[in-house]
Every structure is written in C-alpha cells, then in structure tokens.
C-alpha cells in the first residue's frame, strides 16, 4: 500500500502494442462472426416468427404447399377451401432430441468404458498411444463417409436382420404394438398401418450419431479421467477397493467433467447433418416408434433449403436453423463450463 508497482507491460515498445491489438482484434472478430450469424438468422427468420409466434415450437404441421379441399361456406354451398402453407418445428425438434438421446444411450457407456480402458489398462499394455490415435482418427472421418456406410451397410442390416427379428420377437407382446404400427396422415385422414421396415429410421439415425459422437466423448472423458489425482485412486485401493470400485471412484471424482464430455457429444449429435440425413428417413412427423422414419432439424434444412422458393417456407427453415444454433450454443456453454468448472473445484480439494 506504500508504493505503486512501476512496470507495466504496455511500456515495452511498439511491437507489443501491435501484437496486442492484433490478438484482441482476432478475438473480437470471432465474437463478431457469431453475433453476425445469429443476427442474420434472426432477421431472416422474422417473417416466420411474426406469422407463427410461439406456436411454431408447438406445432407439428409442416406444409410448404397450400392444400385445396372441399368444404361448405356459410350458406351451405360446396366451395373450394384453401388452407395456406403452415409451418411448425415440433416434429424436427422431437426428431433431434430423440435421435440425440438415442445416440447418447448407446455411446455413453461405450465411451466411458473405452476411456477407462485408455487410462487404466492401455498404458500397461503399451497400447495407449495407438488407441488414442485411433479414437481421434475416428473423429476426423468425414460425416459423409459415415452416411454412406450407414446407408449401404447399417440400414440394410437393420432392415433385413435386426428389425424383422425384433418384430417377430416383440411384435405380439401386448403393450409393445406401438413399436411396429404407425399413423399416416393422408389428406387430413389419420390411417393406422404397420410401419414398413426400411432400415432408414430413427434407430438408424441414432446409431449413426452414436458412432459419430463416440470419439469426442471418449477423448474428453479420457482427459478428465487422466486428471483424477493419483492420490484419489490410491486412496480407494489402499482401503481395499477392487479394480471396479476404484474405477467407480474415478468416475465419481470426474463426474462434472464427464457430464461436460457427454454434453459436447450431445452438441455434436444435435448439429450433425449429412450422415443423419442419409439414414433417418426424412419424415417430418412425430412417431413414437424408433423403427419409423423421422427428421431432425439439420436434416430438414439439408433436404428442403435448396428447394424453398416461397418466402415463408424459407423463413421457417431459417427459424429452425436459429433454434438449432441456440440449442447447440446452450449445450456447448453448459459443457465447457462443466469441464473447466471441474478444475478449481478439484484443485480446492487438494
């Protein structure tokens, strides 16, 4: 409190100032791009937001074309009734949420198991380097490659082997009929019929997503588990914990970071486009069965954006994109805060 500290990094010449400005500028530039993206999407989606309001989030209607049907006017005369195009995002939001959830259900146990293996077993077998590389390599495979594999290998396998098998096994079990029957909306009439098993359905989309999020969840979980202090593991072992019990203790210690890893995987699953579009069946309708074709937000955009000529249609698609952006951003922020937030808490404990 007596003397002020003299030196300041700013007094060290012009080079520092230039570099400082450049660094700040780059950082701001990235923020600016995100903001511009959000603003442009918002502006472009405005017509749809104005027309449908909150209802957009609650409606499963997605009709780019107007429907002309027969009806009666006030006087009882038969007239043509024109229903204007109508858009609602609920079906694709449902598709995204369910396919991502399915992906996590499959990927999380596999990823955590693989991460535990990488941290606790592989180093002893001198495999850690090779396996870590392979996991990271899996993350670098372009999504179109996954899509093609899904379309030509996974979907036919599901169609011809897995799904008929499940149907013959579970089809007659009371209470599970919904798995194999769907509803079809034909010109306003709802028809119930058995779901044609095509292999290109919610299940296939979920499985493809699971494969695609596996590497990121594994890699981040591996880093989280590797950061568990040795003292913690030894502490449990010294008390007589078995190998599994000490692994459980590791998972518990890293739970915030692991949850963050899962959220990162979820963010990728929710935004993934190409592979999902190829295998999910692209049916903009909510069906409870995983064997029915579905649609996600990103697959809807990929499918329809090029053909959207009508202004409102385009605005509705952009509103879907905006929702997707906000969702991904929220999930990512949550994930990062959990992974980074795990640090100080863990440090405080030691």
């Amino acid at each position: 409190m007596t003397t002020a500290v003299q030196s300041s990094p700013r007094t060290f010449g012009r080079g520092d100032a230039v570099l400082g400005l450049a660094a700040r500028g780059s950082a701001l530039c990235i923020l600016g791009m995100l903001a511009a993206l959000a603003l442009v999407l918002l502006a472009a989606a405005l017509p749809s937001i104005r027309t449908f309001g909150v209802g957009f989030l609650l409606s499963t209607d997605w009709r780019p074309n107007e429907i002309v049907g027969a009806g009666l006017d006030a006087a009882g005369n038969e007239v043509e009734v024109v229903s204007p195009p109508s858009f609602g995002g609920l079906a694709v939001i449902y598709g995204t949420v369910v396919s991502s959830a399915l992906a996590l259900v499959v990927a999380v146990p596999l990823s955590l198991g693989a991460a535990l293996f990488l941290v606790r077993v592989a180093p002893r077998l001198r495999l850690a380097g090779v396996l870590s590389f392979l996991v990271e390599f899996l993350a670098a495979i372009p999504s179109i490659a996954f899509g093609i594999w899904g379309l030509f290998v996974l979907a036919p396998f599901l169609q011809h082997v897995v799904e008929p098998g499940l149907k013959s096994l579970l089809g007659d079990v009371p209470g599970l009929g919904w798995l194999f029957t769907g509803t079809l909306n034909i010109a306003g009439e709802v028809v119930t019929r058995p779901i044609p098993l095509t292999g290109r359905d919610m299940l296939c989309g979920g499985l493809i997503l699971a494969i695609m999020v596996l590497p990121i969840i594994t890699a981040v979980s591996r880093d989280v588990l590797r950061a568990v202090p040795r003292m913690q593991i030894e502490g449990t072992l010294a008390l007589g914990a078995t190998w599994w019990q000490s692994c459980a203790a590791m998972l518990r210690y890293g739970r915030a970071g692991l949850f963050g890893a899962i959220m990162l995987g979820l963010a990728r699953a929710a935004g993934e486009t190409m592979a999902v579009t190829m295998v999910i069946g692209n049916n903009n309708q909510i069906e409870p069965s995983p064997f029915a074709p579905a649609q996600t937000m990103s697959s809807l955009l990929a499918n329809e954006f090029a053909e959207a000529s009508d202004g409102l249609h385009r605005a509705a698609l952009l509103e879907v994109a905006l929702i997707l952006l906000v969702m991904s951003l929220a999930i990512n922020i949550l994930a990062r805060s959990l992974i980074v937030g795990g640090g100080p808490r863990a440090a405080a404990a030691h």
């Binding site: 202090p229 003292m231 030894e234 502490g235 010294a238 008390l239 007589g240 019990q245 518990r252």
Partner: protein, 305 residues
C-alpha cells in the same frame, strides 16, 4: 502420477551436496563413512539394536529389494515392525522409506515396471506370494497419505467408504462405525452436525484426521502413515501427533516422516534409511541419544539431510 519418478530425481540430488560431514569432528574416529560406502554402492549390514529382539513382529521384511524399472529403490531390507508400537522410518528424500511403506500393502503394484525380490510377511501372510488376496491384504492395513485425500462425497460417506465397498448396508452398523471412527480421531464433536456436508469443505488438518478415521473404520491391524503431516500447519501437525500416540494403544503404526523431531516425539522405534538401505534400527531413545553409528547421530541431529 509422477510422485515416484520425482523422488528418483530427489535421490540424485541428495548425492552431490553431502560429502563426508565435516562439521562433526568430535564424533568418533575419522575413516570411511558408512554413507559414503552406500553411495558407492557397497552393501551395509544394518545396525539393528538388541531391544528389538524382545518384540513380536507384525510385519517382517526379509531381504526385501525393489526396482522401479532398472533403478533399484530398496536393497535387501530386513526388519520387523513391532506389534502395538509406533515405528518411524526416517531418512533423506529418496532413501526408499515411502517405497518400503507402500510395499507392505502392495500399492507399488500400480507403478509400471516394479519388480521385487525377497519377501514381506504381514501377520504370517507373505504378501508377495503368488495367489495372495491383495484386496483382502489392503483391507487389513489402513493407509494415510502425504496430502489429505478426502473423496468428493459427504463426511459420513468418506468415513464409511471401506465398509460400503465391503457391501455393508445396515444403517445402524454404518452409523455406529462412523461415530466410533470420528471419535477416535477427535473429530466427532467438530463435525457431528454436518456429516452430510462435503468433506472438501473441511480444513486441511480436519481432512487429514478424516482420512485417518477412514483408514481405521474397518479395524485394520496395521496403520501405514506416509508423511501424514507434511501438508499441515504446526497446530494441525501437533493434533495428528497426539492422535498417533492415542491410536498406538490400539494399532500397530508404521510412519514415514522426514521430520526428525516428529519421529522422536511419536515413535517407539526408529529406522534410519539411506539410499535404499537400512542403516540403523533401534528404539527411538537409543537411535537419538545413543546411536551405534556416527552417521545416524549426524542425521538425527540435523547435520545433514
């Protein structure tokens, strides 16, 4: 992950600055020092005092050697740990005292490339015999580490962890064990109203006492303390030392410390180790006041190390 390799470096550093100690000319005849001989790789027959003959061994190391990869950390250690007594392992960094401690409950198994020779017997069970139940072995020894390592759970769950992993579910049993353990470490009155709170919110000294409570909850036969006060302030250290004296009435305690005063205060027997070899071993009073070797005297009086 690097605790052990770091200690390796420590050992290397110890070698250079300690030529034969010139500050103690009055201590016996000049001549080749035992420590010099050890530094040059010569074997040394430990000076083990007669007083240990009358003791009953709970742990016995027989010609026990250990290697981390190519580096040898322990050289044919033969010693007993006396039942119901506190035995201190002292010696400069890198002398192998922690390694020896961690060999007893086989925690060194986790380190890659560890190899041993000779044997350690705990209560008549050779701990390195093939087919020995390592988990069961560890359940019969409690261990406390250099830094408090509470698990990220409630105080209660920390204390009863050893019972939980044994599958104990009866609430009454768990509650009673929790209270008894916390009373034994004089923590009960401080935390009885916040047993469900996270253990991470306690002070360092409280955390270390919690770790001791956790180590004794399953009634082990032996307590292994690996520099339990090295991360604590003097007041907390004093409390742990009092606690060690109290616990010594019920447990056999083996404590590693680099604080010579601490060893003098808490232990009945003291073993002085140097570069992986046992140098001198006897009752604490003898080792400190009437050691056989000049080098031991110099070490315990703080003239090197």
């Amino acid at each position: 992950m690097s605790a052990l390799p770091a200690r390796t470096i420590g050992a290397m550093e110890v070698r250079a600055p300690h030529p034969p100690v010139p500050t103690a000319p009055a201590q016996g005849p000049a001549g080749p020092s035992v420590l010099d001989a050890i530094r040059q790789g010569h074997a040394h027959t430990a000076a083990v005092h007669e007083s240990l003959r009358s003791e009953q061994a709970v742990i016995e190391a027989r010609e026990f050697s250990l290697w981390y990869g190519k580096r040898r950390a322990l050289y044919a250690i033969s010693m007993i740990v006396a039942r119901g007594k506190v035995t201190a392992l002292i010696g400069p960094s890198g002398c192998g005292k922690s390694t020896l401690l961690r060999s007893i409950n086989r925690l060194n198994d986790l380190v890659e490339g560890v190899r041993i020779e000779g044997s350690i017997v705990l209560h008549g069970v050779p701990v390195y015999a093939p087919g020995v139940d390592v988990i069961g072995l560890r359940k019969r020894t409690g261990m406390v580490f250099q830094k408090p390592n509470p698990f990220p759970m409630s105080i209660r769950e920390n204390v009863i962890y050893a019972l939980r992993i044994n599958g104990e579910r009866r609430r009454a049993v768990l509650d009673e064990a929790c209270e008894n353990s916390l009373r034994a470490v004089a923590l009960w009155d401080e935390v009885k109203d916040r047993l469900r709170h996270s253990a991470l919110g306690m002070s360092g000294g409280q955390q270390q006492r919690l770790c001791i409570a956790r180590a004794i909850v399953a009634e082990p036969e032996v307590l292994l303390l690996d520099e339990p006060c090295s991360a604590l302030d003097p007041v907390a250290t004093l409390r742990i030392e009092e606690l060690i004296r109290e616990l010594s009435q019920r447990y056999t305690i083996l404590i590693v410390t680099h604080n010579m005063q601490q060893a003098a205060r808490v232990s009945d027997y003291t073993a002085f180790m140097y570069l992986g070899r046992l140098v001198e071993y006897g009752s604490t009073a003898d080792v400190y006041q009437n050691p056989r070797l000049r080098e031991t005297e110099q070490y315990v009086t703080g003239r090197f190390g």
